[in-house]
Structure formats: C-alpha cells, structure tokens
C-alpha cells in the first residue's frame, strides 16, 4: 500500500498520548456511531507505485493515439514547444494555491498579469480575467455579464459549438433566463432573424468566430444589429485565428471569450482546458473570477495582487458576479508561455499555416466526386464536405492508417464531415488522405 503519511506509528502514538487519547478511533468519538461506516470501504487494497503505474499504463494502452489528426470541432492539435511543457511542469507553479498571499506569490500573480495582457492583445479588448473553466463556461459567464433587470433575454447563434450551446442552455435554464437560438442559414447566423427578433428586452447576442463549421462569419454585421437594438455583443473566438483575423474589438464586440486550448495545451481527452474572457473598459467590474492588478508595496516596489475582489463570491456571497473560485490558472500560465514562445510572428505563422493547409486540403478533397464543400463561405482551418460513402466505414479505413478523420456531423448535416487542418499536418499527410478518399470512392 502506498502512503504519503510522514509520521511513523511511534510518532503518531506520541501525538495521541499528548492528546490523552487511547487510539485513533477516539479521534472520532464526537461522531455518532450510527453514521460511521461499518466494515471499511469496499475498494481494492492500496498498491505500490509500480503497480499503480502498470494499471494506469494498461488503461492508457487501451486508447489509440493517432499519428495524424484531421479532427478539431473544439479541440485542436497544435505543436507544443518543449519549453512550454518544461515551464508548465515547474513544481511550484503546479502545486501552489490561489495567490492569496501576494508577498510570496509574485511569480504566479505576475504570470497571470502577463496572461491578461496577452489576451487583451489577442482580442483587442481592454481587460481580461485570470481564466474560467473552458470556452463553453466562458460563453455562459459572458452572457451573465450582460443581463440585467431590464434586459434579460439572451440570443445565441445556432452556429455555436453544440457543447457550448448546451452549456449556455443549462446556465440560462438555471437562472430562469429566456434563450433564443438564432437559426443557422447556409452555415452562418441568420441575420434577418436576428434583426427581426431582437427587442427592448434583449440583453446580448453571442456568436462564435470561426463558427462551429469553420466559417468566418460576418460578425460585424451581426454586432451592428445587436448594438442598434441596445444589446451587448459577445464573440467566442479561436485564439489562433485571432492572430490574423479581425479581432472581436474590431468587429464591434463588447466581450471576447474563447477556448484557450489551442495555445499550447494538449488534447487531454477534453480537459483541463482554458476559458478566457476579455471585455471593454466599461464592463470590467462585471467580469467574473480572479483579476490581477498592478500596484506597489510599501517601499514603492512594483507588485501584483488579486484585485477588484468586491465582485467575488468570498466577499459578495449571493450577490457575487459569479460563483467561480478555482479557475484554470496553470493552463493560463501555459498559454502565456506558449504565446511568448511563438511571439507575434510565430503565432501568425501558426495561423497562416492552418489557413493555408486547410485551403490546400479543401481544394483537393472537394475536387473528388461526392466530397463537395457544403458551404460556399470563407473558412479558417475547418470546413464541411459531403461524403459519398458510408462515413463510419471511411473513418474505419482511415483509422487503419493511423489517421483520425474529420468529425462526422449529426443533426441537419448528418452524413457530412467537418475537417480540420493545422500546422501539424504535412502536405504529405494531406496528399495521403486525399489518395485514401479517392480509393474509397472507386471501391
């Protein structure tokens, strides 16, 4: 059995003696017998480190690690530089708690301040928070920022990632908020619907850029409509796209949120990931969660500290702007380190390679009979094609070659495939994919 208790039995006995207790059980004599567990836990006996490793490695061995991945749909495989992994595994960063004691936590605090700055740069916004759980909860929290007594209706585009939409629905249901899903038309938000339905009760309109289908939407037009109706605008943006695409700020958004996983965080079967949130100055005090600010110590030295805490649950309790306490700080540090490593040129290069490879792939895939592009719209690194053969069979065939194919869509686009290409995919891999697809048609 493994144990991390650093006291010997003899020492523990000394401590019990000091307390005047005969046995460990006496520690619990305040607890009524009737609620105590009888007969111990029905779980396996403890194991040594080597046994645990073997058991967990056996589980890992039951998963398939794909050499080549052409699937995104909310989780993107990008290259993670070695320095990023090294920094993110530094012991003190890994094991510290939330930096409540600034005098001994300047490292963590400064890393968050740097992260906030980079998120502002990426999105064009004025302020950012220290992170929330993921892209989906960032969307939900952004909506809460916009709702007030007069305006409490929420508009969200149907082109949002389905998991995000489901999360937003749950949050709206919980708070008793009316949610209107703006329908999708030809792969993009139905602007006419938005125009017709926004009203004096509408608090916010939220959309994703690029949207779930990979399409770069005319966000500016949507946000203009929202603004004219007096509603706030939220853009959920892919941070890699933000390096080259029009920023949320430039599109007229009040709040930018997103999933920070593409910024140096591994796929990890869906988590931990990183929700980021940034906004225009006026909304700063409505941001949820931790925010780090710069100040001075009593000797005048620059220092950083958790600030604007009057928004938070530990002060405001039921009146807090959110319940969030623990966030995804280590993921934020990872993302900041990634952005520093790539730099402005490197991050743009990642984005441009994604863009170029996706367009190269689209050109070749869509020229195969039956694999036409479903939408006639500009995209970033994901796009949807039809599929002339049984999708499952195609995926199985690709799997044999160590390839995770595009994501088979459900719902209105059942039978179609959402493909994703990043800087990780070489031309050779893409050509091979096209060749396999071609063979599949001929069979």
């Amino acid at each position: 059995m493994g144990s991390y208790i650093p006291n010997s039995k003899a020492e523990q006995q000394k401590m019990l003696d000091f307390l005047g207790l005969a046995s460990f059980d006496d520690l619990y004599n305040e607890i009524p017998d009737k609620v105590k567990l009888k007969g111990g836990l029905n779980i396996p006996a403890g194991k040594s480190e080597l046994e645990v490793r073997r058991q967990m490695e056996a589980l890992a061995g039951k998963n398939k690690v794909f050499r080549t991945i052409f699937r995104g749909a909310g989780a993107y495989r990008h290259y993670i530089p070695a320095i990023v992994k090294a920094v993110a595994s530094k012991e003190r960063f890994v094991t510290a708690y939330t930096p409540y004691q600034p005098e001994i936590s300047q490292g963590v605090l400064q890393s968050i301040f740097e992260f906030q700055t980079m998120i502002c740069e990426l999105t064009g916004m004025d302020t950012a928070n220290a992170s929330v759980y993921d892209g989906a909860t960032a969307c939900a929290e952004a909506i809460t920022m916009c709702v007030d007594r007069k305006r409490d209706e929420v508009f969200v585009s149907a082109t949002l990632h389905p998991d995000y939409l489901r999360t937003v629905k749950t949050y709206c249901y919980a708070a008793g908020r009316k949610l209107v899903v703006v329908p999708e038309k030809d792969g993009v938000t139905d602007l006419a619907f938005l125009k017709e339905n926004l009203n004096e009760k509408s608090a916010v309109f939220l959309m994703q850029q690029p949207n779930f289908y990979g399409i770069i939407e005319d966000a500016e037009a949507c946000f203009k409509v929202a603004r004219e109706a007096g509603a706030k605008s939220v853009m959920c943006i892919n941070p890699i796209f933000a390096a080259i695409g029009k920023t949320p700020r430039e599109c007229g958004a009040d709040i930018a949120v997103g999933e920070g996983q593409p910024l140096g965080i591994s796929l990890s079967f869906g988590g931990p990931y990183l929700g980021f949130m940034a906004c225009v100055q006026e909304l700063t005090r409505r941001l949820p969660g931790r925010i780090v600010g710069q100040t001075k110590d009593i000797e005048g030295k620059r220092a950083f500290v958790l600030t604007l805490q009057a928004r938070e649950q530990h002060i405001r309790r039921e009146k807090a702007s959110s319940n969030i306490c623990s966030n995804q700080a280590l993921c934020a540090l990872t993302a900041a380190c990634y952005m520093s490593t790539m730099g402005p040129t490197g991050l743009k290069e990642v984005a441009n390679q994604c863009l170029a490879k996706a367009h190269y792939a689209a050109k070749h895939i869509s020229s195969l009979p039956g694999y036409e592009l479903v939408f006639d719209a500009e995209f970033f690194h994901e796009f949807v094609t039809r599929c002339p053969v049984d999708v499952n069979k195609l995926m199985a065939k690709l799997e044999e070659e160590g390839i995770l194919g595009g994501y088979p869509l459900e719902g209105p686009y059942e039978g179609c495939i959402l493909w994703c290409f990043t800087e990780m995919n070489t031309k050779e891999e893409i050509d091979r994919l096209v060749a396999i697809l071609k063979e599949g048609i001929q069979e």
Binding site: V94, T117, E318, K319, A329, C337
Partner: protein
C-alpha cells in the same frame, strides 16, 4: 522582476515551425486583423530564465508548511503527474470514436465506482471543473428534481452562516434565493433555527461536513430528517471530506448530492489557482437529471450516451478536467481501502495535535475535538496588543511558512483557519508551533514589528486600495 514584455527585443523569436509546405492563402482584407499584435519577442533562453525567476517567487506545497484552511494543501504525488502525462491520455482527442478511447472511458468508470463507494452515492459526473462548478451542478439537479414533480414553489436554498462564499453564489446562479441560518453556540447547525427556516419553499440545504470551523455536524441525521420532511434535498459541499473519508460516508448520513474537490481531498495539485475537478455524485433517484454525456457500459464495451430525456444538459464542453480525474484515480488506487481512512486519521491527528499545542496562547474559536482543521481567533490578541490575524499571517511569511486562511469563516472575528493536512510530519508541525508561539510573544513585546511584517519577502505589504481604486490590469506598451 521584469515582465516578459520588458524582456522583449524586436526581431527576436524562437524557431519552432518549419516553412509552410503548401501554397500560402490570404484572407480578404475585411476579414484580416488590423490591430497590431504586441506579444513578447524573446528567445527560448530568455523565456526559461523568466519563468525560473517567476517560480522562485512562488510558494508551492514543497516550499514549506502550507496549512491553508479549507484548501487541504496535501502533498501532490509525482507519479500522478506522470500518469496524466502519458500520451495514451494526454494526446487523446475528446471526439475520437468510442472504441479508440476505451481506456479513458474505463478510467472514468473506475473513478466513478471508487468515489461512489467513498461518498456513498450511486452515480457520479466528472463534468464540473471545480468545487463551485460542482455546487452549481448539484443545485441545478435540485431545481430539476422539484420541477419534475411539478413542485414549483421551492425557491430557497438554506445555507449556514459558516458556509463558503461559493455556496450562496452558486444558489443565485441556479435561480434560488439564499436563506442564511446562524450557527449555534457550539458552531454547529442550530436545529431550532433550521426547523424555523424550512418550509414549503425549501429546495434544499447546502452543508459542509465537517463544517468550515472544522467541527463535525454530529446532528447530521436529525438535520437530514428536518430537511427531507420539509420536502427539500441535502447537498454536501465536499471541500472538507478529507478527515472523514473512509470513516463516514455522506450518502449514509442523508445527503442526496455531493461534490468533491479532487484538488483538495484527492491530492491533485492546485496549479496556482486551478485546474481542479469538482465531480458531483448523487443518489439513484436523481441520476436521470445528471449532465450529459455520460459513460455507459454494455457487454464490456464503454461508450458515451447523451440520450437522457430529463438531463439538465451540460456544464461545460466535453467531459470535465479529465487529466485531473486521472491523478485522483491514481491516488485512490495507491492508498486503497486502508490508506484512505489512514490519511483521514492522520489529518485529524495532526490538526488536534497542533491545536492543543497552541490553545493556551491563541484562543480557539470553538474548543473541543476538531477534525482536519481548527479556527483560532486573534481577537483577544488584537485587543491586547493591536496585532491582528493579518499581522500574524504576515509574520509567518518571514518565517518561510504559508499562513493559514485568514478572515474566514466570517462568523469568527480575526479568524486564523489552520489545516495541517495528513501529509505534514510531527516535526514540521512542532517547528510551526514554535513559530506561532514566538509570534505571539512578539505581538506582546513588539507589536510594531508585526505591523511591519513581512520584511524578508520579495515584496512587502501591498497597496491593495490603490490597486482596486485605479486598476492597472494589463501591461501598458506606450
């Protein structure tokens, strides 16, 4: 310390990517970013040095004694980190077909089974990313439950005044009104106050047990009866499970829903603020409301299912902070059936030992047997010497120790909430006791020295008022 932006030199970079091997593509001008992107321009060596410096000004679990009350800062085993880093977990796409992720699904299933046994629950979801997220999830389950019975008048959640701030904040997010009830003289839920508070509008009670004073709510069975009889449900805030795991199961004491903080009780590290993991367990009658997708098993094959008519939906994308769950799973496998209660006992022993070593000097807010933590009040000390809980905390910094949680729970004035945890040795506790006692003496003889503390840290006390009044929340490039 320099900011990374201040280490930046135009033109420098790390060479990470090869040149693009396909023809370039350009977006239309109106789709392109116009704003400049001001990220640092640095070499790898500079980044390495930068973060090494930042790390040197960060206090981790291994930097010293870290008895941060309510946070269970126990040792974070290294094997767990390695396991979470295995490519067979870390490089798995969340949307891979089920037959290619059988190991991930089995791990989730196994973690569910073990944690259900530990908590006395029937089902568990790993979607919630932290404790507060778990609370919110649990409260939405409560909401849905009452609604499903056509019971629409249950709009109130009862929360003791010792509760963590996330409890009432979560209640608000779930559309409930919070009713706060005062604790009794003994620091426990006052049964009369509870009886007076429950009624037809009671949706449920949120309770932390042991509570945030470190006291076990020994009337838990009666509490559960009162709430259940009124038609409400019982929610267990599992932040304090550590001292009773393997000893008492919340499910056996009447709780219907629990959340756990894997980043506390189950040894996963806290990352300077996160990621954590806040799985939510429930009794069978609530299972149909759990968030989707859920892991199911048929003929030895695992798969995800989203096909539940009554589900509350989703709490986040995908399935939760999966790698954190793996770390907790490895921890549970390591400790096993004997090790889990032994860790609990070690936590309780350590806390009682330290409390007894201090109680003649510092006033214990609620004397008696504590569980994993105890709360001191520095109020008498402050009256006598002017030295506050905050001053003591800052004095500890100069002694290379992380202070306890201060000014929480709110019902204790000048609170110092001390949680030594199970992985602290007698020796280190004895050393800490010595320092706590010296600081007390210092408060009596030289209070000014403590008002000035810390003096040895990288920075000294901060001007937090200005930080909030004139917020500087990002680096200014101009």
């Amino acid at each position: 310390m320099k900011l990374i932006f201040e280490r930046s030199t135009p033109g420098l970079s790390c060479e990470i990517l090869p040149p693009c091997d396909v023809e370039a593509y350009e977006l239309k001008a109106e789709q392109q970013r116009g704003q400049e992107l001001r990220l640092p321009e640095v070499t790898e060596g500079e980044i390495s040095r930068h973060y090494t410096e930042l790390e040197s000004q960060t206090f981790g679990v291994n930097s010293g004694y870290y008895p941060l009350g309510s946070c269970t800062m126990k040792y974070n085993p290294k094997i767990n980190e390695e396991i979470a880093g295995l490519p067979g977990f870390a490089d798995i796409h969340p949307l891979q077909p089920a037959h290619t992720v059988q190991g991930c699904l089995e791990a989730l299933r196994l973690a569910e089974k073990l944690l259900c046994e530990i908590t006395g629950m029937d089902y568990m979801t790993f979607q919630p990313a932290a404790g507060a997220h778990g609370e919110f999830t649990g409260l939405v389950l409560i909401k849905k439950y009452h609604e499903s019975r056509g019971d629409k008048k249950r709009t109130k959640i009862i929360v003791p005044d010792t509760a963590h701030g996330t409890n009432p904040a979560s209640a608000t997010m779930a559309g409930f009104t919070t009713v706060s009830i005062s604790s009794g003289q003994d620091g426990l839920v006052d049964l009369e106050a509870l009886k007076a508070a429950v009624g037809e509008d009671t949706a449920g009670l949120m309770l932390t047990n042991p509570n945030t004073l470190g006291l076990f709510e020994k009337n838990i069975v009666e509490i559960a009866e009162i709430v259940h009889q009124a038609g409400g449900l019982l929610y267990y805030d599992g932040a304090n499970l550590n001292p009773v795991m393997g000893i008492v199961r919340p499910g056996d004491t009447g709780f219907d829903i629990v959340h756990l903080n894997l980043h506390k009780t189950f040894s996963t590290p806290h990352g300077g603020g996160g990621p954590g993991s806040g799985p939510v367990g429930c009794k069978a009658f609530l299972a149909k409301f759990l968030p989707v997708p859920r892991v199911e098993e048929k003929d030895g094959e695992f798969y995800f299912s989203g096909d539940y008519e009554n589900t509350i939906g989703s709490m986040k994308a995908f399935y939760g902070n999966f790698l954190v769950v793996l770390k907790a799973l490895a921890y549970i496998l390591t400790l096993g059936r004997e090790g889990i209660p032994e860790a609990a006992k070690s936590a309780v022993l350590n806390a009682n030992y330290m409390m007894k070593k201090l109680e003649d000097l510092y006033q214990v807010a609620y004397p008696g047997r504590c569980m994993h933590e105890f709360v001191l009040t520095a109020e008498p000390l402050k009256k006598k010497t002017g030295v506050s809980a905050l001053d003591i905390a800052k004095g500890l910094l100069d002694n290379g120790m992380h202070p306890p949680t201060v000014y929480f729970p709110l019902i204790v004035h000048e609170a110092l909430m001390v949680e030594p945890t199970d992985t602290e040795s007698k020796q280190s506790i004895d050393e800490a006791v010595k320092v706590y006692r010296e600081l007390y003496e210092k408060a009596c003889t030289d209070p000014e020295a403590l008002h000035q503390a810390p003096v040895k840290t990288a920075v000294r006390r901060l001007d937090e008022v200005t930080a909030a009044r004139n917020p500087i929340l990002r680096y200014n490039f101009d």
